[in-house]
């Protein structure tokens, strides 16, 4: 092996170097494509007034977003068939329990689902925050939903301040709510 290597001609060495450089260029180019994360694309809705809705609760009176002005609202679109929604469910419930007395509302908007499946999901996973049905998907359309789960955070003046595609992270959600509450306290 060593004997062969020492016998490398200049042409071979040059070729080997060429192969190395070419591969490095190709890999670097392709790696830039990997860096993109479609879930961090800035939502055009952030900074705008949240589209209003009045939707019936699964079990309870209808909820109207505009009536919640003055409170921080976390709107979470979910479905019983969505596994990612299971993943984030505990985080949402935790936020609701922690902040419900500080003027924060968590609303689950059920998307493309049947009422029966949604009810059994809510009862088996102990969802405690209010859940509404968007049976004709008009609210999902108004929010430009791309899939579930997606979560919008609306501040007390009714503006969308954060948009999360995919499951929410508990720490990130808590710090987002904290910063809004802190700004209000000042």
């Amino acid at each position: 092996m060593r004997r062969r290597l020492t016998r490398l001609t200049r042409r071979q060495t040059r070729l080997l170097a060429g192969v190395g450089v070419a591969v490095a260029v190709i890999v670097a180019l392709l790696a830039t494509g990997l860096g993109r994360d479609p879930s961090v694309i800035a939502s055009p809705l952030v900074g705008r007034t949240a589209p209003n809705f009045t939707l019936p609760q699964l079990d309870g009176p209808p909820v109207t977003l505009s009536r919640l002005r003055g409170q921080v609202v976390v709107i979470n679109f979910w479905a019983s068939w969505c596994t990612e929604c299971h993943v984030e469910q505990a985080a949402l419930d935790q936020a609701w329990q922690q902040f419900r007395d500080s003027g924060v509302v968590v609303i689950g908007v059920n998307f493309q689902d049947t009422a029966g499946a949604a009810r059994s999901y809510v009862s088996t996973t102990d969802v405690t925050y209010p859940v509404v049905e968007d049976s004709d998907s008009s609210t999902a359309l108004a929010y430009g939903l791309r899939g579930v789960p997606e979560t919008f955070v609306v501040n007390e003046s009714g503006r969308i301040v954060d948009h999360v595609i995919g499951p929410v992270d508990e720490a990130a959600l808590v710090s987002e709510i904290n910063s809004i509450l802190l700004a209000r306290a000042r």
Binding site: A22, L34, Y121
Partner: protein
């Protein structure tokens, strides 16, 4: 079941790592027992990976939603057939199938070389196990098909609606995978020849038949993909120059080039470097294609959902390119070929030209496919490269390939006896000229279309004439009948059959891509429209509530201009609970020349009004039939002969003879 699957995959990885080590050490030390134990490992890996696949299948069929993959890709109401298909409907599951097919190929190699083993066998086995180890690492770490959910949902999401809309989904991916993964075998033997320092010609005769089989699978896989696109997506076409379609075509073009240039090396000892580069190139492009598709780099209808496997694929691609082409550079002195072209107008010259053209087509397609990526990396802007670029740049190259396919089989090896070749060209050329005149006469003014039909005719008549003359020689012979002549010249005749299929497919592509008609109309129930000489009347709408979906079926009656009814079309729309948009199902009247194709675009007023898109597509069935003929021709060429060993021996002895001659010449 989640645990069982996870442990099986881990066990499979351990066993293949052992196989890799045993083969590598066996190759280095030449110890027979080690190589033999590595060879037997192949069967163990196959059994373990098959068990993992069976576990996932069982989980899907029993609605085990504790496994995340099952919850994401199946639902209680999903029909059993589509539940089973969910095994490869998404990224993680399809990697299970991928591993199974790879293990199957390695086991096939282990069976094929159970007794007579070329000196490169241990190295090839090592390379095969390396690839298997990579794909098993992928499925044990970055992708986790058996990942479980702590809190299983009551029902799953169901398969993606587009994928549960047509049974073609059952066969398209497995055939494509058989084609893609199969390139591992030629790659492994090519690398083995380089590693063992055998720049000689033995490896090409070893893998020619493997490559043919893989080529057939890939041809059928591509064809089924086009057929799926045509029969399911409802846009009236079959090839959209989508990135994922393109990257599947690239290895096909390279392997087609290899199957031609391999004859140069087998018969004349030429093109050693070229052939090894083609084999490594085909495997690299296959790896590149999987990277593009599965790493979520390009947007495409085929792209799998976002996964974390991207960096792993990229690292593997880098390894393949570095190891493959690095070895070529290192072994360059052994790859020099003594023979050279004696005449440009000869069979050899034609093969060289054919390879150049196939590579040019591959380069054009690769450029168009990766251009958006390059632009975005450099300038941050998003661009797309569409059909017009591909059509306008690839068409001339494909026409030249047809010209070669229509003339090269007439040329003899070494140097051309031009008058003889010209004499045999008379009938095909006359037929081509007639067709071109007739096409122009019929009012077609596009040069590429006229040329396309003419050259397809040339290829068809040349191939037919050569097959028939082969038969005639056999008939005149003393002992051999026509059948015997066919069998004796099997390789040549099978190749000519592939060319017959190519001619049919080329005619079909030319016709359908340029002579089709389409219209979009909105009709009230009872209203009709005239399209292509037929009256199409929107009769009624029928709603069918199925467990997993709602199907809205329209009935459109078709009446010929003479007033006789010609059946009905029933384009549908399917509403799935987990889909935001309805999924259409086109309805097609398939004919020998014309297809009448109807898509339901939208429904208004509760079905009182419907918008349809109608297409009249010529020659689409020629493409399907031609493609099938190509695959069958390839299969005939790959079919083992009755005296398979002596066939190989002949190849080997020819190689030995040539080696001796070269040594003598030096």
């Amino acid at each position: 079941m989640s645990q069982l699957g996870t442990y099986l995959l881990l066990f499979g990885l351990v066993v293949s790592c052992y196989g890799l080590l045993a083969a590598a050490v066996g190759a280095k030390t030449g110890r027979f027992a080690l190589v033999e134990s590595a060879r037997r490992c192949a069967f163990g890996v196959l059994a373990i990976v098959a068990a993992a696949n069976a576990t996932m299948l069982a989980a899907l069929l029993t609605n085990d939603f504790a496994i995340r993959y099952v919850a994401d890709n199946s639902a209680r109401e999903t029909p059993v057939f589509f539940k089973a298909l969910s095994l490869w409907a998404a990224d993680d599951g399809s990697l299970l199938l991928w591993n199974l097919i790879l293990a199957g190929y390695i086991a096939a190699v282990a069976v094929r070389f159970r007794r007579d083993r070329p000196p490169t066998f241990p190295y090839a086995l090592g390379v095969l196990f390396t690839v298997q180890v990579f794909y098993l690492i992928l499925i044990n770490g970055p992708a986790r098909p058996f990942a479980s959910l702590a809190d299983p949902p009551a029902d799953g999401r169901g398969p993606a609606p587009l994928l549960q809309n047509h049974p073609l989904m059952a066969v398209h991916p497995p055939f494509l995978y058989l084609g893609f993964i199969g390139f591992t075998v030629p790659f492994a033997f090519g690398i083995a020849a380089l590693l063992a320092g055998q720049g000689s010609d033995q490896w090409v005769s070893l893998i020619r038949r493997w490559t043919l089989v893989v080529w057939c699978f890939l041809t059928v896989g591509l064809l089924l993909g086009a057929l799926w696109s045509y029969s399911v997506l409802g846009w009236g076409g079959y090839w959209a120059w989508d990135p994922v379609e393109n990257v599947a075509l690239l290895p096909w073009l390279l392997s087609t080039a290899f199957l031609h240039s391999v004859m140069l090396q087998e018969r004349r000892g030429m093109a050693r470097l070229w052939n090894i580069a083609l084999v490594i190139g085909a495997f690299s492009l296959m790896t590149f294609g999987t990277f593009l598709t599965r790493a979520n780099v390009l947007s495409s209808v085929h792209a799998f959902a976002q996964t974390s496997v991207g960096p792993a694929y990229l690292a593997f691609l880098a390894l393949v390119l570095l190891a493959g082409f690095g070895l070529v550079a290192w072994r360059l002195p052994t790859l020099r070929t003594p023979a050279s072209l004696t005449s440009a107008i000869s069979r050899e010259g034609a093969f060289v030209a054919n390879n150049m053209l196939l590579l040019a087509a591959a380069a054009i397609i690769l450029l168009g496919t990766t251009f958006p990526l390059v632009v975005e990396a450099v300038s941050g802007q998003q661009v797309t490269v569409g059909g017009p670029y591909f059509r306008s740049s690839v068409t001339p190259v494909f026409l030249l390939i047809l010209l070669l396919a229509g003339t090269a089989p007439l040329l003899p090896w070494r140097s051309a006896n031009r008058s003889r070749a010209l004499r045999r060209l008379r009938v095909p050329a006359a037929a081509a000229a007639l067709v071109m005149i007739a096409t122009a006469w019929a009012g077609v003014r596009q040069v590429t279309v006229v040329a396309g039909f003419g050259l397809a005719t040339l290829v068809f008549v040349t191939s037919g004439q050569e097959i028939l003359s082969g038969l005639a020689i056999g008939r005149r012979g003393l002992r051999g009948g026509a059948v015997r002549a066919l069998v004796r010249g099997r390789r040549r005749h099978a190749g000519l059959v592939v060319h017959l299929g190519l001619a049919l497919a080329a005619a079909g592509i030319t016709a359908s891509s340029s002579l089709g008609q389409q219209t979009q109309v909105t009709l009230k129930t009872g209203q009709s429209t005239v399209f292509g000489g037929q009256v199409l009347r929107y009769q009624s709408l029928h709603t069918d509530q199925q467990p997993q979906r709602i199907v809205l079926t329209t009935t459109v009656s078709v009446t010929n201009s003479s007033g006789e009814t010609a059946g009905t079309l029933d384009p549908r729309m399917n509403l799935y609970p987990a889909a935001t948009e309805p999924i259409g199902s086109p309805s097609i009247h398939r004919g020998i020349v014309w297809d009448l194709y109807a898509s339901l675009i939208s429904l208004q007023d509760d079905g009182g009004t419907a918008t349809f898109r109608f297409y009249r597509n010529p020659g689409v069935n020629w493409l399907w039939f031609g493609g099938l003929v190509m695959a069958l021709g390839g299969a005939a060429a790959a079919w083992p002969g009755r005296r398979r060993n002596s066939d190989d021996d002949q190849g080997a002895s020819a190689v030995r003879k040539r080696a001796a001659l070269e040594a003598g010449a030096l």
